[in-house]
C-alpha cells in the first residue's frame, strides 16, 4: 500500500513524461473519460460540491476505519482531476488524510492552469475529503 506522498510522486513522474501542455491535458482528459461514472442514484445533492462551475459529486464510504471514494463530474477535465484525487486519497485512514500535504498540483506542470480555482473544483474536492475524514474521526 503506497502512502499519499508516494502516490503523488508517482503522478508527478507520469506527468513529467509529457513535455507539452497539450499532451498533459490529453492525458487528463483520458483519465476523465476512463473514470467509472457514478450510478445515477448517487448523483444527488448530498454529494454535490457547491461553488464549482462544473458539477462534481464526491461520494465517501467508510469501512474498517478507512475512507473509500468515488466521484463524477459533468466536465471531463474536472473528472480527470477527480480521478487523480481518488487515486491519492482512496483507502486511507482519516489521520493520513487530515495530515496530508497536497503538493502534486504545483509539480505536474499545470499549476498555472490548474491552480486550485473555484472553476475546476480541485480545491473544493480536497477540502471536502479532509472534512469527511475529520467528521469520521470525530464520530468514532
Amino acid at each position: 500500500m503506497n502512502t499519499i506522498e508516494e502516490i503523488q510522486n508517482q503522478i508527478i513522474e507520469e506527468f513529467s513524461m509529457f513535455d507539452d501542455w497539450m499532451n498533459k491535458y490529453e492525458y487528463l482528459i483520458d483519465l476523465g473519460k476512463n473514470l467509472e461514472p457514478l450510478k445515477d442514484g448517487l448523483k444527488k445533492d448530498d454529494f454535490l460540491i457547491k461553488g464549482c462551475q462544473s458539477r462534481v459529486w464526491l461520494v465517501p464510504k467508510f469501512e474498517n476505519g478507512r475512507l473509500f471514494l468515488s466521484a463524477d463530474s459533468d466536465a471531463i477535465i474536472t473528472k480527470g482531476l477527480a480521478s487523480l484525487i481518488i487515486r491519492i486519497f482512496d483507502d486511507k485512514t482519516p489521520e493520513e488524510i487530515m495530515n496530508a500535504d497536497v503538493f502534486f498540483v504545483e509539480q505536474i506542470g499545470l499549476s498555472q492552469n490548474l491552480s486550485p480555482t473555484r472553476a475546476n473544483g480541485l480545491a473544493s474536492m480536497i477540502q471536502s475529503i479532509k472534512h469527511y475524514a475529520e467528521a469520521f474521526k470525530t464520530k468514532n
Partner: protein, 405 residues
C-alpha cells in the same frame, strides 16, 4: 476613419503572449482593454495633478477638480444629458443600480412592484431582491420568447396600480440581445412609471441619447468602455434625482453639518459621498474621447460584422447550439454550447490556445437555467478584434471538440 492596424496598436496588451501564443481576447463583455491614451491619463493624473477634489483651496486641488468636472461634461455630452447635474459618478453600473434601489426605496411600500426582464444581470436582480426582503416589494419579470427576445405583449400585462419602476437591460451580457428599450420606455411612461436602463453592455457598442430615449435613469461602467475599473455613471433626470435622498452620507455631499443634522449639497454632489474616484473619472473622459474620435457608429458597424461573421462560422459546426436573437436584434456577445462537451472543458482548452472567452452563467443564472443549461461558452467582441482572430477561434474550437469526442 476606421484603421484597424492603428487601433490595435493603441492597445498595448494585445501584443502580450499567452503561453507563448498570440492573445485572442474575446471576453470583452467582462471587461475591455485600455488604449494607451487612457493608460497615459492615469499616469498623468498621479504625476501631474493628484489632489483631493472639491475641498482644497490650493492649486493642484483646483486643477484636479477641473479635470473631474470636465470628465463629467464629457459624459454628459456623450449621452446627451440636459445638464451635468444629471451625471453621478459611481463605482460602476452595479453601484449605480444599487444607488437607485436604495434612494428610490423611500417611494416604495410593501407590495409595490418593480418590473425587470428575464435577461437581467444579477446586478439588476439582487438589489431588488434585497428590497423585497427588507420592504416586501414584489418583482415582476418580462418573459423571454423562444427567439431569445423579450415578450412585449406580456410586458404590457405586468403593469398594475402598484407598479413603481421598470428596470431593464439594454443589451444582454449573455445573449447579446438588443432589447427594444424605446418601446419599453414609451409603454412604461404611458402608465406613468419611470424606467432605469442598464447600459453596461450597450454604452460601448451603440449611440446612447438619454433625451431621445427619455429614460429616467441609465447606468453603466467605465471599464466596459475602455476606461479604468472602479468608475461608473448613473444618469438620472434632474427632477428624479432631486426628489431622491442621498445613497450614502459623508464628506463632499453636504452643504452644512451640525451635530444633529445635515443639509445636503446640490446635485450631483448629493450622491457622491466621500473622495470620488477622480482619476477613474478622468480616464473615463479620455476613453470616451478616444471612442468619439473613431466614432461609435463606426464601432457598432464593425462589431456587428464581427458578430455575424462569427455566428455564421459557428453555426456550421456540428452539434452546436447558439443562443441568439434574430439577426437585427443582436450584437457583441455570442453564447453557445456544443452537444456532449461541457462549457468549462471548452473554456479550459481554448485558453491553452491563447483564446480568452468566458464560461458559466455570466452572472445571469436564472436566464441560463431558463433555457435548460448550467452554463454557456460566451465569446464577446470589441472593435479591436479581427476576422483572423475569429477564424483562429473557430479552428481552435474544432480541435478542442475533437479532444473530447
Amino acid at each position: 476613419m476606421f484603421d484597424l492596424n492603428k487601433i490595435r496598436n493603441d492597445f498595448p496588451i494585445l501584443k502580450e503572449k499567452i503561453y507563448g501564443k498570440n492573445l485572442v481576447y474575446l471576453d470583452n463583455a467582462a471587461t475591455t482593454h485600455k488604449p494607451q491614451v487612457v493608460i497615459d491619463a492615469i499616469v498623468e493624473a498621479y504625476t501631474k495633478f493628484n489632489s483631493n477634489i472639491h475641498r482644497g483651496n490650493h492649486f493642484l486641488s483646483e486643477i484636479c477638480t477641473q479635470k473631474y468636472e470636465q470628465a463629467r461634461q464629457i459624459v454628459q455630452k456623450y449621452i446627451n444629458a440636459v445638464s451635468s447635474k444629471e451625471i453621478i459618478f459611481t463605482k460602476g453600473a452595479t453601484e449605480s443600480i444599487n444607488l437607485v434601489a436604495n434612494s428610490f426605496a423611500s417611494f416604495l411600500n410593501k407590495d409595490d412592484e418593480v418590473i425587470v426582464s428575464a435577461m437581467e444581470h444579477h446586478a439588476n436582480l439582487v438589489p431588488w431582491h434585497i428590497l423585497s426582503n427588507n420592504k416586501g416589494i414584489k418583482l415582476k419579470i418580462i418573459p423571454m420568447n423562444s427567439n431569445f427576445e423579450l415578450d412585449l405583449t406580456q410586458f404590457e400585462n405586468l403593469f398594475t396600480a402598484k407598479t413603481k419602476l421598470v428596470s431593464v437591460v439594454h443589451i444582454s451580457n449573455t445573449l447579446g440581445t438588443i432589447n427594444p428599450i424605446e418601446k419599453i420606455i414609451k409603454t412604461a411612461h404611458s402608465k406613468a412609471v419611470p424606467v432605469l436602463i442598464d447600459a453596461a453592455q450597450s454604452i460601448q457598442h451603440k449611440k446612447i441619447d438619454v433625451q431621445k430615449l427619455n429614460c429616467d435613469f441609465l447606468a453603466f461602467s467605465g471599464h466596459k468602455i475602455y476606461a479604468e475599473t472602479g468608475i461608473g455613471v448613473l444618469y438620472g433626470k434632474q427632477s428624479m434625482l432631486e426628489k431622491m435622498s442621498p445613497y450614502q452620507g459623508g464628506g463632499d455631499m453636504i452643504k452644512d453639518v451640525s451635530y444633529n443634522s445635515t443639509e445636503y449639497a446640490d446635485l450631483p454632489f448629493k450622491f457622491e459621498a466621500g473622495t470620488s474616484n477622480y482619476v477613474g473619472a478622468y480616464s473615463l473622459g479620455k476613453a470616451i474621447e478616444y471612442v468619439e474620435n473613431i466614432g461609435i457608429e463606426n464601432i457598432e458597424l464593425y462589431e456587428k460584422e464581427l458578430f455575424e461573421y462569427a455566428f455564421d462560422k459557428l453555426s456550421k459546426i456540428e452539434g452546436i447550439d447558439i443562443y441568439a436573437a434574430s439577426k437585427e436584434n443582436r450584437i457583441s456577445s455570442l453564447s453557445f454550447n456544443v452537444k456532449g462537451v461541457h462549457h468549462l472543458d471548452i473554456g479550459t482548452m481554448l485558453d491553452k490556445f491563447g483564446i480568452a472567452i468566458r464560461t458559466g452563467t455570466h452572472c445571469t443564472q436564472p436566464l441560463v437555467n431558463s433555457f435548460g443549461q448550467t452554463g454557456t461558452v460566451r465569446a464577446s467582441f470589441a472593435f479591436y478584434n479581427t476576422f483572423e482572430e475569429i477564424d483562429f477561434f473557430i479552428e481552435s474550437l474544432k480541435k478542442v471538440i475533437e479532444m473530447f469526442k
